[in-house]
Symmetry: D3
Subunit: 131 residues, 6 copies
């Protein structure tokens, strides 16, 4: 599977390797997961994606675990198999417990069903919900 083949070590460009080094340093791991390896075909896209991700997922008004669970929620709704796996694993690594994961799934399931109902009913937006 994959629409681009895996690059061998020799084929990865210097620009891509520099991004890999920053991923390793930022995440404190030697492992570069397949997503970044696939993006290495286009070092400019790899670099832009990684740098934006690093900024967006950094601690802020929302903590990293909350951000990771939001990432899982979007990935499930968008039905991205790779992303559901990778971000569930990341949320686990950031401290998501069994109970938190259970509640995350329950909220996703709940939202999915009321999303469908509101769309089926074409409910008009209440004035008080408009900014």
């Amino acid at each position: 599977m994959a629409t681009v083949r895996s690059l061998t070590g020799e084929e990865v460009s210097a620009e891509a390797l520099a991004v890999f080094d920053d991923i390793r340093a930022t995440r404190n791991t030697d492992y570069i997961n397949n997503f970044w390896r696939a993006l290495a075909h286009d070092p400019a896209l790899l670099k832009a994606t990684w740098e934006r991700l690093k900024t967006v997922m950094a601690p802020g008004a929302l903590d990293p675990l909350t951000k990771e669970m939001l990432y899982v929620a979007v990935s499930v709704a968008n039905n991205c198999e790779y992303c559901v796996h990778s971000h569930t694993a990341a949320a686990r690594a950031k401290g998501m417990t069994d109970q938190m994961q259970a509640e995350l799934l329950a909220v996703i399931a709940m939202a999915s069903q009321t999303n469908a109902l509101a769309t089926a009913l074409q409910v008009p937006v209440d004035d008080r919900f408009k900014a």
Copy 2:
């Protein structure tokens, strides 16, 4: 708009009114928003949906604001106009600040783009991400 017409006060069934009362008591407000009013055409669906929502959104291992932001994230990815409006307003009411909303949007945007990239590249899931 709407695929069902608005029920007048006389048309809402006793079973639906009982649900409305519980919504009012639980949320400490007199206001019943349009989603519940549209569902009142089917009191059994109204009741099942509300009771499940009340359970799922109650405080647990995740706090109510986190759950509400997850709800927004799913609603955006599913593109439910009504739900994006209503749950953004609910998150605001539960304490979402401007900065938190900004970070919520940034995570949703980030996930949407890497979801698309992983799908376009058909990246195989790393073994270490499998449970």
Copy 3:
């Protein structure tokens, strides 16, 4: 709204008018709804779409009302506002009762939530479900 402007009577081509005539005859009505009027900008697309629709929605192993409810289900899941409205109205015209509509919505809501759960859990397909 709309990304193409409405054609005036004089602007509709003879090829498009012939399709309009067939829609009127097939549906036994004078009314041409906005979807077909918008497609009239491209008579070839209008004709291909209408002729395929006429074939697909004709009575067969599935009756026209069942087909129309399936159309609503897909339109809700794809979140097409226009289509949810038009096909709900069409299902009504073909005999969908309040109770049938209520059950249709309940199935759509149920499927939406288990779809999300199966995706979140990345459940492997049971061998017995493979053809």
Copy 4:
């Protein structure tokens, strides 16, 4: 694959086993498919999901086969691989013939294309379609 590991027989809780028993009794089979096994990590979610499904899919104004085909239609539009497999198999078991399946697919394909066209054209909803 899967974001939760398979539970061994000893790990499934008594509450989950009771749900499994009800699934077996209701469906008149010993087989518990992977979806329910994965949900067993959260017995409360398992129980809520199963009980709602049992109610929603019971015979009513719509017969069980029609409901199952609606489930397939939503699952295809939501692109849930597991669900497309499991509900196609369920529809087969409930009597969906080759010809019915062929018409189901033709309607799904038709709806998908007119959904896309209506969205691309941003067709305004006809007044007569509003409830």
Copy 5:
């Protein structure tokens, strides 16, 4: 995988074989890919789908490669694994270079993120964008 089993050579109908012959002649290849083989269960759907595809993808105001890249873009957004693979391969065969593929992916990723942002913000459409 697959919700219909593979037909053996003897089982493919004469009507389906005639479509296969036209695919071979049009594409100048002996190879019939799995999509068409799966559709052969319903020769009428196979024929309608192929003939429409042949018309739509023929050179016109847009060249075949541009059409194929548009097909990839839709397939990624709709998250169709089979289609992403087959149309990426087709685009490659029609001359899509590494650099073009990189730009295609960058546009898809960009659109996916601004789509999500516009939906999250529920931005009203500017009057000047309405036809």
Copy 6:
């Protein structure tokens, strides 16, 4: 509508105004459309989004009109009303003719239906399509 209110001229930050200036200079227009005005609530997100967009949409191996039509295709598949309007208008401004728009729509409709069919059939990917 909108989940953030419109900022008055006094409320837009200096950082956001600098982005507006760059949009005006790049596009050679005084008009700032609603999307950018809504993003101005978060100048950092506004700036990151605009700068990435400017890079991605610049002429490259793909010309700006092709990129804009790809943007429309993704926006339709993601069902973003605002984006369908704004990018259709942008494609028009960049030279998309009636005939090109008609072919764009035909490809989107075609892809949407074969995406649905491949998903419904769960067609396995041909080995030759794997990179």
